[in-house]
């Protein structure tokens, strides 16, 4: 169980290192009969790919997905969907600054200790490049979940916080700017700030908020596989994520029960939604919303000291083209992981009654 499979029925297994021949995956358990919109899948990959705007890494990779199986005459067949994305940018580079030393707050050190050695090129398996495979599978999950809408957006960069709730925002604006913040004014301030940070050779963290609408009642499998617990795991499995909260979240701890409780309307909906669309681990039909905290990217373009394999201090400097802030590109990843969770629970929910 090396941990590269996600899901119980709608099940994704990914493979691939940052600078190997290809990354990709197998999506098993996707129901038959889905008329796949392949362009929509590629579109999701394009939202995630490097080089798409001035505030993300300037690496150029086309990130085109190739499907090997599981689709016939435009429809899913119910058999596993194998796919790959070739690593076209894997030219032989100078990796001496990575090969024998450990970059702070990267996975270099722990991979070497755990596995005995590592593919050091571009971070190998620990690179966020792997998440492209998740975006492919998530895009298929979205098509399976036709009718459910999943919208993520950037709600915080550093200390710049979008103070509006999702219900006050026009989420169609998310893609209108490079930051993927649906409030144009806040987006502009975030963009300026990211550019400033980039000039310093530094990086900054951020928060992605996500809202899922039109979810049927009943998704989630207590007691361990609660809907929000799987969403939390899904989000925390994304590179650089440090925290997850849903509904009232960390702020909710300050509330009294008499205020926090969501009163029922006669149709089963609730007048408030501190529950965040999930009660007892099961969706209640209200909007699901949550926040995901991303730390600042560890790769900075500044000189620093670190240790080599022998434990000697060495001076080095980050190189290459990296993201000053990861959240704009992580928006489609958050959506993809949310879609995988919902697709899995949708299938599981078909099996629980006589």
């Amino acid at each position: 169980m090396a941990g590269n499979t996600f899901g119980t029925l709608f099940k994704l297994t990914t493979f691939g290192e940052s600078h190997g021949k290809a990354i990709g995956g197998v999506l098993d358990g996707c129901p038959s009969g889905i008329n796949l919109d392949l362009e929509a899948i590629q579109h999701e990959l394009d939202r995630r790919k490097p080089g798409q705007s001035a505030i993300v890494t300037q690496r150029k990779e086309p990130d085109e997905v190739v499907f090997y199986s599981g689709i016939f005459e435009g429809r899913t067949t119910g058999t596993p969907i194998g796919f790959a994305i070739y690593n076209t940018n894997q030219k032989s580079k100078d990796y001496s600054h990575i090969k024998d030393s450990y970059r702070p707050s990267h996975a270099d050190y722990v991979y070497d200790k755990k596995y005995g050695f590592r593919d050091y090129r571009g971070g190998g398996r620990s690179s966020a490049r792997e998440t492209a495979s998740r975006v492919v599978a998530g895009a298929i999950a979205k098509q399976f979940l036709d009718g459910i809408s999943i919208n993520a957006y950037v709600s915080q960069v550093g200390s710049l916080r979008l103070e509006k709730a999702y219900s006050e925002l026009d989420l169609k604006q998310t893609e209108s700017n490079a930051v993927r913040c649906p409030d144009p004014e806040t987006a502009a301030r975030m963009e300026s700030y990211i550019k400033e940070v980039r000039k310093e050779g530094d990086t900054i963290g951020g928060i992605i908020s996500c809202v899922i609408q039109n979810v049927p009642v009943g998704l989630g499998e207590p007691v361990f596989d609660k809907l929000h617990a799987e969403l939390g795991k899904a989000m925390l499995s994304i590179n650089a994520v440090k925290g997850f909260e849903y509904g009232s979240g960390f702020e909710g701890v300050k509330m009294k029960g008499s205020v926090h409780n969501d009163q029922f309307n006669t149709d089963g909906s609730t007048s408030t939604n501190n529950s965040g669309g999930v009660q007892g681990g099961i969706s209640n039909g209200m909007d699901i919303y949550f926040n995901v905290a991303f730390k600042p990217v560890a790769t900075i373009i500044q000189p620093y000291e670190t240790i080599d394999k022998e434990g000697n201090m060495v001076k080095t400097k980050g190189k290459g083209r990296h993201d000053p802030c990861v959240v704009p590109r992580a928006v489609p990843i958050v959506e993809a992981m949310a879609a995988l969770v919902l697709a899995d629970f949708t299938l599981l929910n078909r099996t629980i009654k006589l």
Copy 2:
């Protein structure tokens, strides 16, 4: 996959409703040869049980665990450990306020919708009573993890926040007071506040912090089963939990990479620990620490309106003896779930090298 199993190798399956005959579980995959301290297991259950102090529910249940299998002559045999805790407090009560109506922010409504009907007595399977089984298995995991220390404590009740980091606290003080906050002065204020809330028939949320020390390098299975992702899922699967953050957490998003990065010492340790003991999803040998947010308990002893099964508004009132604040009793549950995660990854980590 109705979701009642946790873990891949060190694997707990639980069963039981709040007012059925018994709750319990099967712990499969526990290695053979552990000299079990049965009193230590019962001690963990006692930390969780109702009626132990003035600020928790005054229900009286002995919560004694009975082991059926997997232990011979005091040692684990490597075969599954079956156990049960009888529900002694299951006298026939008046459940009319629950049976036909849905308590706000409880799981009544979603269970009825998902399964078609429900065991309404005391919340049935959705009751936090189920977590007693986790505490049993977690106590065994703790003994397996001999040498690793796992200490949880209450760090916030409502807006009352313990401002000290775990390193400034004497964690041995956690059990010295009813709140389980290791800072006596803050504990006293929290206790008063909880009593005040209880008098109002209301409830209040809180935060539990947890620190895990002496963890070897290498635990965690990327890319999906990252150490912190499984910890997050484990915590989010506990009743009433709304959020999880580790290391720098949500505050970390405001930091720049140059500040957030943890610089290496020559022995592989780091001078700061914003990573929270986990890098790339794998433990790096530093302390693991995280926060878990709990919402206020939904059961309040105040009159309220809600709907019945037919969607009619009905007036009702919470009854019985409930916790005004869940966090004091949830401390051993957080520790138990953390222990289960670490035990599982400890076994998995034996399998990853030639």
Copy 3:
């Protein structure tokens, strides 16, 4: 993954040693809303229990199942069904002939080597007593599979073979005799033979045949989890089983394709059924039939030499009350395991189309 869980969605986990406090299990994933016939469950246990006839072990154990959870007002709730069967016959016996030496063709030696030590009383976990838990879960699966009939029977004892195919037999006769062979004349000969073998203090093997009727088309999940592959695993996991074949089986290897192929009728049924109701790992709606080979029970009441823990040769003799032939009591176990496989695939099959 110590191997005590069976099934993916309709999932049984068992626990318990032969002479511990209890055996039992947790059945998770059983759909809600089944009106359970508890007497029918106990009836299946009675078919398996010791002491029921002159040709099985004369041990007396009532084998009464107690349900702890998952059933409310007579119906399954969709939550895990926990149950136990107490070991009432666990009086302190003289185990010196087992404790320090290894009985030939039992699991004593391998358990000691694998786990470091073992619960030697009555074979501990390796005892066929564990299968009582399977019978409980299988009986629930049978009720879920209402409409599908599963009938096993003894078709061979030693070299005494029932030469008729299942279609020539009146399967209602199976329970009319102690051997559970539906052909009365053959049954009588088998019974005499078993008694003769018992007098010698010896044991004898046999074959159980099973036929499953009214199976819908579509059960089975290729490529690895083919219907017959899971049936095979299920049967081979029963104590003393040495072989499994379905449809034409081992005899089919002698046939040519032109003869072996099952020609279609216009309604999709086939005129012959060498396929045994399964094609490409998926049920085709025809009867599923298979044979399961059981070796002679290893415990014989004759003097023999074996080794002790230190590798010294020791003389000993089998004691107690054992089955001279295991197949009569194994009939309900075969049916139970078949029911578990079909129940799981029935649930899985709900998830494979859009």
Copy 4:
């Protein structure tokens, strides 16, 4: 759980249809640090590929495996090994005889019924072509299992049976002839017979025997995941397999316990081996041996009647180049599946003691 994953820790997921772009898989959980002999992997594929001799299908496919990930500088990294084998022979053919009608004893009918439609080209996912991916993963497992030898061979074709036990054979002769029978004289007779059957446009079944030597004591996870139960499932999951028996197998049912029991030698080995190297589901260090029955290939080059999708009778005829007898090419597949089972249990066995 569409059933395309095999193994718990050493875990293979395969994808691909007979005439799609590629088949392949992801092997997750393979330990790091194995110096892979890539030629040895390709050699196993060559043993399985079409066109290698006069008695197998004359299709020509190079079946070259491409590795995408998980291998760095010649060694496994512990990350998932992604690989593909391109389908070079997928020229546009006339499939009208397959597209709208159902070939007898193929999976055409059940795939259509289960999934709603199917990729009919060459049998799609139900084609034995998929097993090439298993051979790749099995070849890696063999290298991991350095020291354990796994040798399969053809022991029966039709009624022609090799009467010698594996211990009387020189298994190095297996590859000396096209049939893969280690007894040259029997091999010659089998070869003549297969040619004769092919001339008739017919096919014939057969048996593959397999022996595994130098297995350590302790592999296998009772009670459900017994070593022989997983081997049985592994074999039954191979296309065309109808039966599995190990050790004394179906013949063992005729034996008395006093004869069948394997007496211990003082070193823990046994003087006979009716147990087939497995006791109580756990390897005992003796040779593991088993038989696998294969039915005759369903595709025959003779005219036949069958039904179309609408249930009308249609006359048709098998086309193309097919195997008259599947067992010669299935020998490496049996070995591959055995290797996967042993690799998985080898890893699991590292986790069962303190």
